[in-house]
């Protein structure tokens, strides 16, 4: 069964269509990649699904329930969480407090501080930040801040996790660790939507891939199908037949 169903989702910024008539379904417990050139509408799509912005048109359904235009915080309580492409830690809070907040206000809304701290530490353990729990978030490196971003989203106990370029700017070893983490999260039963520019990363972890271009859906399928899709190659590399004409 599909956990998420998106129907002809459209978003205009002024007169420009950032996203136009995009429809797809996300099956449960899969890792679904979203790729496309810069400005293709990937982050806009994530912002629409998580309620950060409202669509101009279209419908978003979570487990059959219409959630179009619901607020960010209420969607978190229904099990939808995201990370941000540009990390947004609370800089003058400790790493632990950053995650603790997500435990308190996430889906389970755990009130007791001691319990919430325990749960926050579990999330930090998972991303290997447990030793930095009592540091201010501002002193973390970019790679660590990306992991904090993931730990915070996880701490809200989501069913559907939207990861926006969590590997961007990471060293190769860090990227591999992050990809392992993504698979680990899925193994726990969380469905993942994953935006990334690093093709190798996307191809290696995703079960399915959707390609966006100029705000529209260009292609959809398994990673190897996408790799051999002519329309996709055109969008990324220019005309596929350019080589033949020489």
């Amino acid at each position: 069964m599909a956990i998420l169903k998106v129907n002809s989702l459209t978003k205009y910024f002024g007169g420009v269509a950032a996203l136009k008539d995009v429809s797809f379904e996300i099956p449960e417990k899969q890792i679904c990649g979203f790729i496309g050139p810069n400005g293709a509408g990937k982050t806009t799509l994530f912002s629409l699904i998580t309620g950060a912005i409202r669509p101009s048109k279209g419908r978003v359904e979570l487990r059959g329930r219409n959630v179009t235009g619901k607020s960010c915080s209420s969607l978190v309580k229904m099990g939808v969480a995201r990370t941000h492409q540009i990390v947004r830690p609370f800089r003058v809070m400790t790493v632990l407090e950053n995650v603790q907040l997500a435990v308190h206000f996430g889906r389970q809304g755990i009130g007791r501080t001691s319990h919430a701290k325990e749960r926050a530490m579990e999330a930090l353990n998972l991303v290997h930040l447990d030793k930095k729990a009592n540091l201010l978030a501002s002193v973390l490196s970019l790679g660590e801040q990306k992991r904090l971003e993931v730990a915070r989203a996880l701490a809200t106990s989501p069913d559907l996790l939207l990861l926006d370029e969590v590997c961007g700017g990471l060293a190769p070893a860090e990227t591999q660790a992050m990809l392992d983490l993504i698979q680990q999260i899925r193994a726990r039963g969380t469905t993942i939507m994953y935006v990334e520019h690093d093709m190798k990363a996307v191809m290696s972890v995703c079960d399915r891939i959707t390609v966006l271009n100029f705000g529209q859906k260009l292609a959809e399928g398994k990673p190897d199908e996408i790799q051999n899709n002519e329309a996709v190659i055109d969008a990324y590399l220019g005309k596929a037949h350019l080589g033949d004409e020489r």
Binding site: H84, F90, M93, L101, A155
Partner: protein, 323 residues
């Protein structure tokens, strides 16, 4: 020192000792003028603590706290004139101010940053003009408050002291709670907080209401003591823009975003303000202007930050001499 005691000392034992000392103070036979000065300082301190909940913890800079101060003052004044108990009047003042905070907050908290601040200026001026023209409260000529009980200065002193203690306790509880954690998150990045399940709009409305209630009590204390209130007669007017500025100034002087900074700011401001206004009717405005610029430039964490820095220096130099 045992670690448990060291941990409890700043948070409970010291404030409790201070509270007891202030409780016993009138018994040593202070001059009425000194008791009056302390009373006024307590009233200012309450508003300082209240403003800090919204401006310091949550980062929403409001110029409009005179509205709650004034509404508290008028609510208590009218109720006392109708023959009600002044203490019931304090509670109703808190209620009316909190109610008003929702009416003001519902539209203005849709705005962010400087736009919110500007909107609060508009709100407070609108309320001031309305109150200056409202006939049933005496309009611009003010309201005399007649309490059919004997005036006992010590009673005023104690009610203000208890109200300050209440404000400090509220501030401490919020600072330690998950609600306080959410407020700090909202201050730093509202959208990131929302992405973790915090509802920034609702949280702001609630903290605004708590702050308004405390400010309303302060206004009520002021009204009952001074027997006469007017909406905007110079700096003393309860709805005057200047009043809102004073309320904002204290936590900034003391150090915003902390529990004790605003208390410190309120104490310093209350005492300095009274002495200055008596001696130099307009000079204090210039002084505050200069002080504000200095604080923002040199010590954004206010007096609390300055003290922390001094203690830090003392401690580290002690450590050096021992080693």
């Amino acid at each position: 020192m045992k670690p448990a005691i060291r941990r409890l000392l700043p948070q409970t034992i010291l404030p409790l000792a201070l509270f007891l000392a202030l409780l016993l103070l009138p018994a040593v036979g202070l001059k009425p003028n000194v008791v009056r000065l302390l009373f006024i300082t307590y009233v200012w301190t309450i508003t300082s603590i209240a403003w800090n909940l919204v401006g310091g913890f949550t980062g929403q800079v409001s110029f409009g706290f005179a509205v709650f101060y004034g509404l508290g003052a008028y609510t208590a004044g009218l109720l006392i004139n109708a023959g009600g108990s002044p203490y019931l009047g304090f509670i109703e003042a808190a209620g009316i101010a909190a109610l008003a905070s929702f009416l003001i907050g519902l539209p203005t908290f849709r705005l962010r940053g400087p736009y919110f601040a500007i909107a609060t200026i508009g709100m407070t001026e609108a309320v001031r003009v309305i109150m200056s023209n409202l006939q049933i409260t005496g309009g611009a000529s003010g309201l005399s408050i007649i309490e059919h009980r004997q005036f006992r200065q010590v009673e005023h002193y104690y009610s203000a002291l208890v109200a300050v203690a209440l404000a400090v306790i509220v501030s401490m509880l919020i600072a330690r709670s998950r609600f306080g954690l959410a407020l700090r998150a909202i201050k730093q990045d509202e959208d990131a907080a929302a992405a973790l399940g915090v509802n920034p709009y609702q949280s702001k409305l609630w903290v605004h209401a708590i702050a308004a209630a405390l400010t309303g009590i302060a206004g009520a204390l002021h009204a009952r003591y001074h027997v006469f209130i007017d909406p905007s007669g110079g700096p003393g007017g309860v709805f005057a823009f200047q009043t809102g500025i004073s309320i904002l100034l204290m936590p900034v002087i003391g150090g915003i975003g902390t529990v004790w900074g605003p208390v410190l700011g309120g104490m310093v401001f209350g005492i300095v303000e009274e002495e200055l206004v008596v001696n130099f009717p307009n000079f204090h405005l210039l002084l505050y202007g200069i002080l504000l610029i200095l604080i923002i430039l040199l010590e954004p964490d206010g007096l609390a930050g300055l003290l922390r820095r001094i203690f830090g220096l003392v401690r580290s130099s002690n450590g050096n001499s021992k080693s």
